[in-house]
Amino acid sequence: MAEYSAFALLKNALNGNKDWKPAWRKPDPKPSYDVIVVGGGGHGLSTAYYLAKEHGITNVAVLEKGYLGSGNVGRNTVTVRSNYLLPANQRFYEHSMKLWENLSHDLNYNVMFSQRGVLNLAHTPAQLDDLARRGNALRHEGIDSELMTPAAIKRLMPAIDISPNARFPIVGGLMQPRAGTARHDAVAWGYARGADRRGVDIIENCEVTGFLREGDRIVGVTTTRGEIRAKKVGVAVAGSTGRVMALAGIERLPIESHVLQAFVSESIKPFLDTVVTFGMGHCYVNQSDKGGIVCGGDIDGYNSYAQRGNMPIIEDVMSELLAMFPALASVRMLRAWGGLCDMSMDGSPIITKGPLPGLYLNCGWCYGGFKATPASGFCFAHTIARDEPHELNAPFTLERFHRGILIDEKGQGATPRLH
């Protein structure tokens, strides 16, 4: 399995890199499978991987409408953390964190997981109290969390403006040292290769155009590459959830699709080795291994399937970035792009059996799905294989909205703007 060993790299370099083998096959779809996973993003691929690895279900197809990694798994700002307030979220995301910590080893594929820490800044004493409360809740659950003073923050990132003359002076912050970043494409490729090696068919350029039904029951899908039948169909299509579920006749869900923009600057020398978030507004920033400053903020705030956004958010994010790091004013932005986010009405995800027989639904990731990739696949695979949720995703049902047992991290009530 040492395909990317130093020896292999050297041999192929001397050989003009002609002999590399593709990391996964390009099979044609079979007429039927035990399980079809719709969506070849991070969550779909990890679902297929854990179906094969944890449950021995290898007669699986992953259907991707474009090429692998063309959706949100290649568009996010790569942050991985588990610093949530509510127990259901803490347990789920901490399980994800533990999977992340062993992921490169598990997949035998370097996902470049870097535990460089995630720091949330506070700008008022009340905000700092709130962060302290969250830190205590995290420690209570056994998750690492440290309150930091402005002086300690300045030592960690010398370019940050902690002066009392700032428009929103920094009064402290909450750090999760085990949090960090991962190479998002490598996560997709690693899971794809791992699933493929266990017998999963990854079928690219295969868009689902409808569902096959026997009575109420879903028994397969129609696609641009023909009809494919399956005992169980799992849907993990993030921002396209509304579109795909409408094909199954479900027009209304507690989900809206919104556009989230992200930005990267030209490469600069090492400047910031932590992920940091601005607390007055919303801006999160890290520096990629290539040197680009990667940042993002809030969603644009209106329904969109366009994968591109508008100027107001760009101005917001840039002004907040400069409030933290004035020195970045002379750095040029290189690219801006957008991804479709499945914004749920309480800011928490849905991983559930149903809503139709034979169908399984994984959605509502708002704009925090990347960090959940391992646990989402792990729990969704369990739900599909056993026909019941894992204890970690048992709270993330669709009927919680009917019953009023929301997982509302911000305590803000029903709105599709939370995360």
Binding site: T241, R243, E256, S257, Y302, N303, A306, N310, M311, M345
Partner: protein, 94 residues
Amino acid sequence: MLINCPYCGPRDVSEFTYQGDGNRERPDPASQDIEAWNAYVYDRLNPAGDHNEIWQHSGGCRMHMRVVRNTLTHLISSVAPVRPHAAARHGGKP
């Protein structure tokens, strides 16, 4: 994105507040129909294409308006006051 406010004319999107899916109907306040309330509070139409939605010109004349906007292209095909008579009464285009 520009929204053509019936009262103020074309203005930047940053002046407006998005109020979401305009197809929902609020049940009678006395209603005890849990499903109807659930649908109103949580469920949304989420089409890829033309979407009926409510916006408010909160940074301007504060009018609430019905907007038909394509969620694939962001093109706006119609803007009308939620209550048509309001604009006419205040001197705007009806």
